[in-house]
């Protein structure tokens, strides 16, 4: 048992010291059993902080260390390294989490201080009973998984594959490309989106190191860093893609139609379809909700016209399992449903568009071949773009969506470019043009004659609605029924203004996908209060997560534009590569083992182990645990009637001591 424990209480600047009375905790620690010294430090994780601990271990012969600071999930590794550098076994360190579960969650300083003392006592009591352990090396599987085939996932997959790592890319839709594939041009450079994206998509499709699994979803993930087992469900396409030559006859002949998801419902696709012309893979799938064969009818059109005989209505979902060393989650975002804001008339008036609808309307490959037209085929003379649709708004999303100001400017430019005579109004609260070349783009659009109105659009009226109101109130109208009126206060004028327009474009907030919670649980990635996946550290570990070996990239982590998504895709690939390059990873030797002389041979433990790590030696009439297979969960330990199984680093004695410590204050 340790007899000279060193206790270090970190201020973490004001993060801890602002609430917890650190000197009082230091004094309390001095009185705890077996504590040889007790010190405070501004930032214990800093180099001088670690150096101090190392010096003290050597100078005072400390045999266990307690650091009271942030969560062990944050810096346990840092301090273990420091302790090890001073010649002490790293498992003789115990962390007291007085920040995440202390100062940050407790209002009253006196109570926070009392709680901190108790947490420190728990760690001190535990530290006294901790035992040296060796780390275990586990080989890292030289393969990676990327989830999500938007631009962030594409980038990550290409970077990994180019480095020679076999990479599986899973995409839920029939094609990769994500939202970027829907855009016409990109801000602020006005590159054609398809022109810069398509080559990357093709590269993914043809890469020898990429296994592309489109129309597939990850079903479950098990295992640990270096060795994740991932089950992937490939949805039945009802087309044998090994036979299909992508000729497209089936799509041409199929008599049944549904609104095109890719075109935001502004056009129709067939029941057998590829989402768009440049799709990768460029092989069709049959949508069972539209195809009449799934409703008991006898249509055979696609079968008849398919020369290679690839149509297969007997196809079922199939499940594949892959083993990978690391995972990049790049599952993206979804736009907020603009119908949630009734005053903006979306869904009530045909000429109110969401941003994605406008992208398609404006896209050369879109439903109007890129002509900006109203639904009844008129060329709009005036268009209003409304910023902050559900962003920066506590009723919907408190955060800024980061891309809307810029794509609003892009739309303004595209409208001006195509319809020289049209007037464009942009209603904004603040123009946020923070990126490279963004402010310059804003200036350019002012120069192009866009009318900027400083005030959030409060209300959109359809022409008929407005006329009824205007007649009653005695406004002059002269409005056509098909027009709209946008009402806002121009706060720079201090005047209420009403602008008649032919078209309104909303900028719905970028939000976490509806299934983000489920996906997060699958990959053990937590989510922030905004719903997006949470990085390990907002500044210093932006693509890492608290689950070792799992990285996040792109808009699943928060609203992001294309350059930032690509940068994160590369960053996540880099982290994954770095991990794989280590070839093996040290994992804690916190496995369970059977104490031979206590085992009664009752076999209770055998059925409990989810990893089949426990076997029974019939000759010796004893259980034994294979520590290579053991993951250290401790379930068998808790269930052994003879207390014959010991969980290293989580022994009964250690936990009992911790409880005694926690209750001693």
């Amino acid at each position: 048992m340790a007899s000279k424990i060193g206790v270090y209480v970190c201020h973490c600047g004001m993060n801890i010291a602002g609430t917890v009375d650190v000197p009082a905790v230091i004094e309390a620690a001095k009185a705890m059993p077996r504590v040889a010294l007790s010190k405070e430090y501004k930032f214990a994780c800093s180099d001088p902080g670690q150096e101090m601990i190392k010096q003290d271990i050597k100078a005072h012969g400390l045999d266990a260390i307690v650091v009271a600071a942030c969560s062990p999930l944050m810096h346990e590794k840092t301090f273990r390294r420091a302790v090890e550098a001073a010649g002490l076994n790293p498992f003789l360190l115990s962390i007291a989490n007085i920040r995440e579960q202390g100062s940050w969650v407790t209002e009253d300083p006196a109570k926070a201080t009392e709680k901190a003392k108790a947490i420190v006592a728990g760690a001190v009591f535990r530290a006294a009973r901790q035992e040296p352990l060796e780390m275990r090396s586990v080989e890292i599987h030289r393969a990676a998984l990327v989830v999500g085939g938007g631009i962030a996932g594409i980038q990550a997959a290409l970077d990994l594959a180019d480095s020679g790592i076999p990479t599986t890319l899973v995409e839920r839709q029939p094609s990769i490309g994500g939202y970027m594939a829907m855009f016409d041009k990109t801000f602020p450079t006005l590159d054609c989106s398809a022109c810069i994206l398509t080559p990357k998509m093709t590269a993914v499709g043809q890469h020898e190191n990429i296994k592309l699994m489109a129309y597939s979803e990850v079903e479950s993930v098990s295992g640990f860093v270096g060795n994740f087992q991932v089950r992937i469900r490939r949805k039945a396409a009802y087309v044998d893609h090994t036979k299909c030559n992508g000729c497209g006859m089936c799509m041409e002949k199929c008599p049944y139609k549904a609104p095109s998801e890719f075109d935001q419902g502004l056009s129709q696709r067939r029941a057998i379809y590829v989402p768009f012309a440049q799709a990768v893979p460029n092989k069709p799938v049959i949508d069972p909700a539209t195809c009449v064969r799934f409703k008991g009818k006898k249509c055979k059109t696609c079968i008849k016209f398919c020369e290679p005989g690839a149509i297969d209505f007997e196809q079922k979902d199939s499940v594949e399992e892959v083993t990978v060393g690391s995972i990049v989650v790049a599952t993206g975002f979804q736009p907020m449903d603009a119908k949630k804001i009734p005053q903006l008339a979306y869904g009530r008036h045909p000429e109110v568009y969401t941003a994605l609808e406008f992208e398609r309307l404006n896209n050369a490959a879109g439903p109007t071949q890129g002509k900006i037209l109203t639904k009844d085929g008129r060329v709009p003379q005036s268009v209003a773009i409304l910023n902050c649709t559900g962003s920066r708004d506590t009723n919907y999303h408190e955060y800024c969506s980061r891309v809307c100001c810029m794509y609003a400017l892009k739309y303004a430019h595209l409208i001006k470019e195509k319809l020289h005579e049209a007037t464009v109004f942009d209603f904004y609260i603040d123009m946020r043009c923070f990126g490279k070349g963004y402010e310059e783009f804003y200036r350019r659009l002012q120069d192009e004659g866009v009318r900027f109105i400083r005030g959030k659009a409060a209300q959109v009226f359809g022409g008929k609605e407005y006329k009824a109101i205007a007649n009653a109130a005695g406004f002059i109208d002269g409005l056509e029924d098909h027009q709209l009126v946008v009402q806002a206060e121009d706060s720079l004028l201090g005047k209420l203004i009403r602008v008649p327009v032919d078209m309104v474009v909303l900028t719905p907030a970028v939000e976490a996908r509806a299934d983000a919670d489920e996906v997060g649980r699958k990959f053990l990635v937590s989510r922030g209060a905004d719903g997006f996946f949470l990085e390990q550290h907002p500044k210093l570990a932006p693509v890492s997560t608290t689950n070792d070996g799992v990285y996040i990239a792109g808009a699943c982590q928060g609203p992001k534009d294309i350059p930032d998504s690509v940068a994160q895709g590369s960053a996540a690939a880099g982290k994954a590569l770095g991990l794989i390059a280590r070839r093996e990873v040290e994992v804690e030797g916190t496995t369970a083992s059977v104490v031979d002389e206590l085992c009664s041979g009752c076999k209770c433990c055998l059925t409990l182990c989810a990893y089949n790590a426990i076997s029974f030696d019939a000759d010796r009439h004893r259980s034994s645990i294979n520590e290579v297979l053991c993951k250290g969960c401790g379930t068998c330990v808790a269930s052994c009637p003879s207390s014959a199984i010991k969980a290293k680093h989580f022994t009964d004695e250690q936990i009992f001591a911790e409880i005694e410590g926690l209750m001693s204050m």
């Binding site: 969650v105 053990l524 989510r527 330990v637 808790a638």
Partner: protein, 145 residues
């Protein structure tokens, strides 16, 4: 002085401890009465740990692990779920109200849920009053002898 419950929380590393940390990084405030022990899995939550906590003077014990189906170790939480009914009966035998033990599922993304669970449990224990195990056991011992 008003009664401030002392509660031991035993949290699994992957979901509930991370969820509790998330409450912290989100600066959610909650009652300071729960003192936490971290274990790797709720499967490790041995009944003796619970009894030890009561023995050391805890007025309540909160166990928290991953939601069913989400266990990082596949099924450790199911094993714990099965232990609880028997453990509660043991508590009754010992003269401890079974409500003083609570098992909750808190995922790594449920900081707000952790906050809610703690606040609610603290209030529940507050209304039950101090456990004061020694005082309770004296008459029991007397009647047994």
């Amino acid at each position: 002085m008003s009664f401030e419950p002392r509660i031991v929380g035993i949290l699994c590393n992957w979901c509930s401890y991370t969820g509790a940390d998330l409450a912290g990084t989100s600066r959610m405030k909650y009652a300071p009465n729960v003192r936490v022990v971290r274990v790797m899995c709720s499967g490790r939550m041995d009944p003796t740990l619970v009894l030890k906590a009561f023995q050391e003077g805890a007025d309540g014990v909160l166990l928290a692990g991953c939601h069913i189906g989400d266990c990082h170790y596949i099924s450790g939480n199911l094993k714990t779920l099965r232990r609880i009914p028997l453990l509660k009966r043991v508590l009754v035998e010992l003269g401890i109200e079974p409500e003083r033990l609570r098992l909750e599922w808190v995922s790594a993304s449920e900081g707000a849920r952790y906050q809610g669970v703690v606040n609610e449990f603290v209030e529940q224990i507050r209304s039950l009053g101090p456990l004061d195990l020694e005082a309770r056991r004296l008459p029991a011992t007397a009647s047994a002898s």
